[in-house]
């Protein structure tokens, strides 16, 4: 570190000289002098040194690594649920097609009901013709949504990356 004499002789307002800044940050007796020469050095006095986190570097690094390992474990145990946009569209199209087919068939049956027929007679089991009657794929996941009642519309979802969007 340069001497106080050199520092005081060379200090100019707005200095970027590394030696002068180092002295400014280490020498208490010169701080007051420096601020009189250039008030903007007032806050520059705070810089320079690399600080150590509370508890020390070892403890800090240990904490970070523990968090990293815990996240690694979480990532490894979490099932992958990433879908491509195409796959999302295919899933949405399949579900929408299945639900709307069920509704159309249901409405059609209601509209055909003869006037004056008691409700008990009208309540016939709903028969829908599935859009996909057979499906073969090694990658597909097929989920059947459980029905609450025997006559409910049966919804079946097919998850398959190769399923066409315009099914």
């Amino acid at each position: 570190m340069i001497s106080c004499q050199t520092f005081r002789a060379n200090l100019q307002p707005g200095t970027h000289d590394a030696d002068l800044l180092e002295h400014l940050r280490r020498c208490d007796s010169c701080l007051d002098f420096a601020v009189q020469v250039d008030p903007d050095t007032f806050f520059r006095a705070l810089g320079g040194d690399e600080l150590v986190p509370p508890g020390g570097v070892d403890a800090f690094v240990g904490d970070v690594m523990a968090q990293v390992r815990s996240r690694e474990t979480e990532t490894a145990t979490e099932p992958r649920r990433t879908f491509t946009n195409m796959r999302r569209l295919a899933i949405a199209a399949t579900v929408a097609a299945a639900v709307s087919t069920g509704l159309v068939v249901s409405n059609h049956r209601s509209a055909q009901a003869p006037v004056g027929v008691p409700m008990a007679v009208l309540k016939r089991p709903l028969v829908t013709k599935p859009i996909v009657e057979t499906y073969e794929s090694n990658n597909a996941t097929i989920i059947e949504v459980p029905s609450e009642a025997k006559d409910d519309v049966q919804v079946v979802m097919i998850f398959d990356e190769s399923l066409p969007v315009d099914l």
Binding site: H16, A18, L21, D28, L31, D32, V35, Q36, V37, D38, P39, D40, F42, F43, R44, A45, L46, G47, G48, D49, E50, L51, V52, P53, P54, G55, V57, F60, V61, D63, V64, M65, Q67, V68, R69, R71
Partner: protein, 199 residues
């Protein structure tokens, strides 16, 4: 750091490559190497040791999660500093909105009589004065001020870190100085006299 005959330490880019190949111990080495640098910047921006420690740890977790995105054509420290400033600025924004809600009317104002006292600058006090007057700065202004005045980074380097123009950095610096001088005048008149005397 470039390895020399005296040092077999891998440089930052080599360490990142090793980590990408799945070596956790290389990541530990990188964290150890950068801890003081990251913590110092966080502490100076945030002004509180415990918060700075938490934020620094968060930076390293984000670093680990995003290491695949690092482009080795650019300096690793620039990328790291960008991450630090993003996390610290987010933290300050949240903290400022919380503090504003609670302490909107609390202001320490010193009397004119205090201004007449002879000023002897005490290093310890400079820190508390900085923490007080810098509270009026926006998180970005404060970050730029700290990087320029305390980390001695040039405007061009700060611009690279923040992904903005150099003129924007200089504007933020100018405004930060102006705002802090106003605050000094209002809250620490004994120090604000230093600026008046030197002109």
């Amino acid at each position: 750091m470039i390895p020399t005959k005296d040092s077999l330490e891998p440089d930052d880019r080599q360490l990142v490559e090793t980590i990408r190949r799945g070596d956790d111990s290389a990541f530990e080495q990188l964290v150890r190497r950068k801890t003081s640098k990251v913590y110092s910047l966080c502490y100076r921006i945030i002004g509180n040791a415990e918060d700075a420690k938490d934020i620094s740890q968060l930076v390293f977790i984000k670093l680990w999660e995003n290491l695949e995105k690092y482009d080795p054509r650019y300096a690793f420290d620039t990328w790291l500093y960008r991450m630090v400033t993003n996390v610290a600025i987010d933290f300050l924004r949240n903290k400022q909105s919380r503090d504003n809600a609670v302490n909107s009317n609390l202001r320490l104002v010193k009397t004119a009589a205090d201004a007449e006292q002879t000023v002897t600058v005490q290093r310890k006090e400079v820190e508390s004065v900085f923490n007080a007057v810098s509270s009026v700065l926006s998180p970005k202004q404060k970050t730029i001020f700290v990087m320029s005045e305390m980390d001695d980074l040039r405007s061009s380097e700060i611009a690279k870190i923040l992904g903005c123009r150099e003129s924007t950095v200089r504007n933020h610096l100018f405004n930060a100085r102006k705002l802090m001088q106003q605050q000094l005048k209002q809250r620490f008149p004994e120090y604000s006299r230093l600026w008046e005397e030197s002109r």
